[in-house]
Amino acid sequence: MNDNQLVVCGGCNAKIGAGNLGPLLRDLPRRESPDLLVGFDGADDAAVIRLRDDLALIQTVDFFPPMVTDPYVFGQIGAANALSDVYAMGGKVLAALNIVAFPEEQDFGILRDILRGGAEKVQEAGGLLSGGHSIHDRTVKYGLAVTGTVHPNRILHNDACVAGDHLILTKPLGVSILTIGYSAGEISKEGFHQAVDSMCMLNSYAMDIIRDAGGVHSCTDVTGFGLCGHLHEMLHGACSARIDAAHLPYFEEAYWGAGHFIFTAGGQRNRDFLQDKVVFERNDFALEEIVFDPQTSGGLLVSCDARQVPLLLARLQADHIPAADIGVVTEKKEKEIYIV
């Protein structure tokens, strides 16, 4: 590794497991307000605070250690990932602040490249980069605190799916297997770059179409908890889902890697947390790894009225968004997620 590269340690793989987080948050003191439209309770993607009857503020923060060695690319991915939480709520990006941890002795040229990558993504999102906070730390971390806006009646909650809905996913799965496998020398450069391109892609383009579509009941972005983890939150203990493995978008080489023992820590943490909720009706071990794979800057997962799905899919695909209809929400069954 040369001097102007980053040490890779995880991206969204670094996220603290959902199983450990819930009990901690329950005990925090808090003030109730009718204007706090989305807070801790729903484990949603961002907080939403009503300012007026026709305007609510979205607030979210996201940062993590590098998952790629190129600082400029890391900046882009970190920003795209943080901005995504605003889109997952159905909102638009207003402004963003940088969050930086950077070692005292490291070359500041690296930091400049990280910030440049991030700033370009904020610009692409139409947001105002308006400041930030940086500290010295042993390892590099980068992300954004993002402010967005949404009409209070048009918030897309992450737990509002309805039985009969179809589930649409807007990016392929498997980016952790590809990036971590690449760092370990087991995944090709081509596979790695496919993951990077996908992680750099803003979810704004998908949301611009989803926001205008009819029949969208629920939306979240697929990140550290993997497809099954975020789908579990969407089903909110009230529904089950049937995922059609044949329609699941994933990177071909990630599937290969999963079958050749590229096992990430985050993927196994997700499996531990979710395995008694998920039923695999086909014997396909690599696919199991794919649905538990933590995503960094993953796609949007949308629950949409079945009648609106063909038009929504056609519009997404016409805009070159690799969206797929991956399955249906059903009445609650014995288990939560059936992969068929």
Binding site: G259, I262, Q268, F285
Partner: protein
């Protein structure tokens, strides 16, 4: 017993190093410093049909032993993606309203006959991809609509480029197959065994 010391190493390295050691040795002992790594080693052992045992020696010290001995019969290695297999499979790309270059009316007739005759082949294509000038063929006014529906019924997956349909204002007129995007089309072209272009 051969030992892999993976203390201080993050996933997936403990698994990768143990896997490599198992190519040379029948039994491998691996030291790791976290429980998740032991679970990943166990997943690998299970996939390979090898025996697995683990002892927790301390708060951040686990010893895993994986041995080939317990293997019953031949356990298949994890399957590679089936799409990588080379065989007599093929896909067909149609990107123009005509077959070949020359007289346009004749070219259109040739293409219609091509699709009709495709149905009679011993091996049908896995997929047919339509883009640019080819997309009108999958719409409701296509001369080849019935032939394409027969092919689809016989299991041929038919895909049309969404951006192309949009450009020609045909998105609402698609009468056979599925709409897809350039990303998927490139993936299909890239991984296809053989690509046939009339």
């Amino acid at each position: 017993m051969f030992q892999v010391n993976a203390l201080g190493k993050a996933c997936p390295l403990p698994v990768i190093e143990t896997r490599k050691a198992l190519k040379e040795h029948d039994t491998v002992q691996t030291l790791v410093d976290n429980k998740i790594a032991t679970e990943n080693l166990q997943k690998m052992a299970r996939q390979l049909g090898y025996s697995y045992s683990m002892t927790e020696d301390g708060p951040a010290h686990y010893t895993v032993v994986i041995a080939k001995g317990e293997q019953t019969a031949a356990v298949p290695a994890p399957a590679a993606p089936s799409r990588a297999v080379k065989d007599d499979s093929y896909i067909v790309v149609i990107n123009s309203p005509t077959m070949g270059t020359g007289d346009e009316t004749f070219g259109r007739t040739l293409l219609k006959n091509f699709i009709y005759t495709l149905k009679e082949q011993d091996v049908l294509p896995d997929m047919m991809i339509f883009y640019n000038g080819g997309v009108p063929l999958v719409t409701d006014t296509s001369d080849s609509l019935d032939d394409l529906k027969e092919l689809a019924a016989a299991g041929v997956q038919i895909y049309a480029c969404g951006a192309c349909l949009n450009y020609y204002g045909l998105t609402e007129k698609v009468a056979v197959g599925e709409i897809t995007n350039l990303y998927r089309i490139i993936e299909i072209l890239r991984t296809a065994n053989r690509v046939v272009r009339p």
